[in-house]
């Protein structure tokens, strides 16, 4: 199996700790070289925080697993330097078709609002994403220690000690901070005796990765109760390399050992694709899922991220996408704490904001699950009624839920936000993830989000950049000024973004003087109709728990 992809094998290298080097305490150790841990490592590198990664394996994810990467995750991947690799290899899809029985209920075009750098969603096998992240780590000098399994952990007031097992023996290592991204079964969570609460869904799903030998459209097809797989649901998705992902709902009573046998799987696929279509089976897995999260994501010196902290059903692609957003939220805060520029309690807001996001993801994916696998005959009847009405009526189409695709959370209740004092239209309120917009810089086409991030910034919108009092704008410490204007202009030593299509003005409801304070993770902190240094300073202090 797996003929389209050759797994890289990453060598174990004897670490300095095993060669008599003086003991040192690392500022950050990351456990787990999956999408979340590797993104965290690259973000640390970008922020000048010294971090190493430990992973018990020596290769990337086996099987396609996490498949859909959403716009917000792509923007984070852009920030850490792998966005292009992922998007170039991935498959962009726009058309989704939903079937009920033999009939197509409706179809949608995912074509997002125009004028964003990244599409709403791309499909890419998880092993490619991980490989690109590892390549980037190698390129930027991030140390990944393969075949290095954490077998014990001890927490202290100002650090944690890990015992690491390797093919050549074990050693101890200390970290000021530990980012735990070791997956749903998180051995470290277990070692620390921490709970993760929620429920197991009583259902099983079969995933098959299939290589098609003939053309097939790059669309997402979802069936409720199809003739080839009665009373269950089926999902078809295109991946890179002409591989197709097929998910069959099997029900709780299915035998997972039996169902993953090719002689069981192949007839199911033939019933679906027709006897004549040629295909090869690449990879098969049977899975169940849980919806649960830890009560808190920070425990002393240990910070949990991704599946280790929260798990959702796969409907909506809210697993890896939300994990990548965890590290996006965490790393800038950790940097400020390590540098002594913010108190440790800033990390409580990591837990607060990302628990909020996890709850939203849990709610949406649970609702999708309830629609896809109705728990009673009354629920099933309501769903049948919805699907019938959806063939004719717009209101019912909106209720059909085959997965609410991952979108970022608005941290509207975050203690880091400064509430509005002026009136604004649109959705870019404090806590919002920034909308992108096409801009140009000195005549070169570019994107807003390519210029925003990694530090606190002040986006100041103006009609005429020559009237700006730059000395006043620059009087705020620790914030970079970015001028956005509706005509091309150059200013010495300041980034000036030309809002070429007026999308910034529209999306941010910007008028001459409008000022946004934005966070290193591209979320809004505060906004005003006019610049006022004292207010900006107060908002900045609040956003870093220094108020």
């Amino acid at each position: 199996m797996l003929k389209t992809y050759t797994y890289p094998k990453y060598e174990f290298t004897r670490p300095p700790e095993m060669s008599g080097a003086a003991e040192r305490r690392y500022p950050v150790i990351i456990v787990g070289a999956g999408p979340v841990g590797l993104t965290a490592a690259l973000d640390c590198q970008l922020n000048g925080v010294d971090a190493i990664v430990l992973d018990d394996d020596d290769t990337v994810s086996v099987g396609s697993r996490g498949l859909c990467y959403a716009k917000r995750a792509l923007e984070v991947l852009d920030r850490v330097g792998v966005g292009d690799a992922v998007v170039n290899k991935g498959v962009e899809w726009n058309v989704g078709r939903t079937f009920h029985g033999e009939k197509e209920v409706y179809n949608f075009n995912l074509l997002p609002e125009p004028d964003h750098k990244r599409p709403g969603m791309i499909n890419l096998q998880q092993y490619y994403l991980e490989q690109f992240l590892v390549d980037r780590c190698v390129e930027t000098g991030v140390e990944i220690r393969w075949k290095s399994k954490v077998v014990a952990i001890t927490q202290h007031d100002d650090h944690a000690t890990l015992k690491v097992e390797t093919p050549e023996g074990s050693y101890e290592i200390e970290a000021e901070w530990l980012i735990v991204a070791d997956g749903a079964r998180s051995p470290i969570r277990t070692m620390l005796g921490l709970d993760i609460e929620g429920k197991v869904f009583q259902d099983r799903f079969l995933i098959a990765d299939v290589v098609m030998k003939a053309e097939f459209p790059a669309e997402r097809w979802f069936w409720f109760d199809p003739p080839f797989h009665r009373n269950q649901s089926v999902l078809l998705h295109r991946e890179a390399d002409n591989v197709w992902r097929i998910d069959f709902q099997l029900g709780w009573d299915a035998d997972p050992q039996l169902e993953r046998q090719p002689e069981r799987v192949i007839p199911r696929i033939k019933a679906m694709l027709g006897e004549d279509r040629e295909f090869d089976l690449e990879w098969v897995s049977v899975y169940t899922f849980q919806c649960r999260r830890m009560a808190s994501f920070n425990h002393g010196r240990v910070l949990f991220a991704g599946d280790a902290a929260h798990q959702v059903s796969p409907f909506g692609a809210r697993g890896a996408n939300s994990g990548v957003q965890d590290t996006d939220n965490l790393v800038w805060k950790l940097k400020l704490v390590i540098e002594g520029k913010a108190p440790v309690k800033l990390l409580d807001t990591y837990s607060f904001e990302r628990c909020w996001a996890a709850d939203e993801n849990l709610m949406n994916s649970t609702r999708s699950t309830d629609f896809i696998t109705p728990k009673s005959s009354a629920s099933k009847t309501i769903r049948t009624a919805t699907l019938q009405l959806a063939q004719k009526h717009a209101f019912a189409r909106k209720l059909v839920n085959s997965g609410r695709l991952s979108v970022p959370s608005f941290y509207v209740d975050s203690p880091l936000n400064t509430p509005d004092v002026n009136e604004f239209n649109g959705s870019m309120e404090p806590g919002a993830p920034l909308d992108d917009a096409p801009v140009s810089v000195d005549g070169r086409a570019s994107w807003l989000l390519d210029h925003i991030g990694n530090r606190f910034q002040l986006m100041v919108y103006c009609d005429d950049a020559s009237t700006l009092d730059l000395a006043l704008l620059r009087s705020v410490q620790d914030v970079e000024v970015v001028v956005v204007t509706n005509r091309d202009h150059l200013l010495d030593g300041v980034t000036v973004l030309h809002d070429v299509k007026g999308r910034f003005a529209l999306r941010y409801d910007a008028k001459h003087g409008t000022t946004y304070l934005v966070r290193p993770d591209q979320h809004v902190c505060a906004r005003w109709r006019t610049f006022d240094a004292a207010r900006v300073n107060a908002a900045l202090a609040r956003a870093t728990c220094n108020a």
Binding site: N364, R367, D370, F371, S376, S377, A378, S379, T381, I382, T386, Q388, L389, K392, H393, A394, F395, K398, L399, N401, R404, V407, F410, S427
Partner: protein, 74 residues
């Protein structure tokens, strides 16, 4: 009053960041209302719900239109 067939769910005082959220709020409420009931109890609940909502709408021509659409494909 013509029958509204476009998405129309909302809740006073609640702000939505995603267009699917108000409909999903409603759907979850409906499913939760049926939770742990027998089929017979669920059918009775649905009937009561129809009566309550019909009285709320009041306009019999609107209700006639809704009933005709509901009858299709059954």
């Amino acid at each position: 009053m013509p029958l509204e067939l476009n998405p129309n769910f909302r809740e006073t005082g609640k702000r939505y960041h995603r267009d699917f959220s108000p409909g999903d709020d409603f759907y979850q409420l409906l499913i939760d209302t049926h939770r742990d009931l027998t089929d017979e109890q669920s059918a009775l609940l649905n009937a009561k719900l129809v009566l309550l909502l019909a009285n709320h709408i009041g306009d019999i021509s609107t209700l006639r239109e809704a009933m005709a659409l509901a009858r299709e494909d059954v």
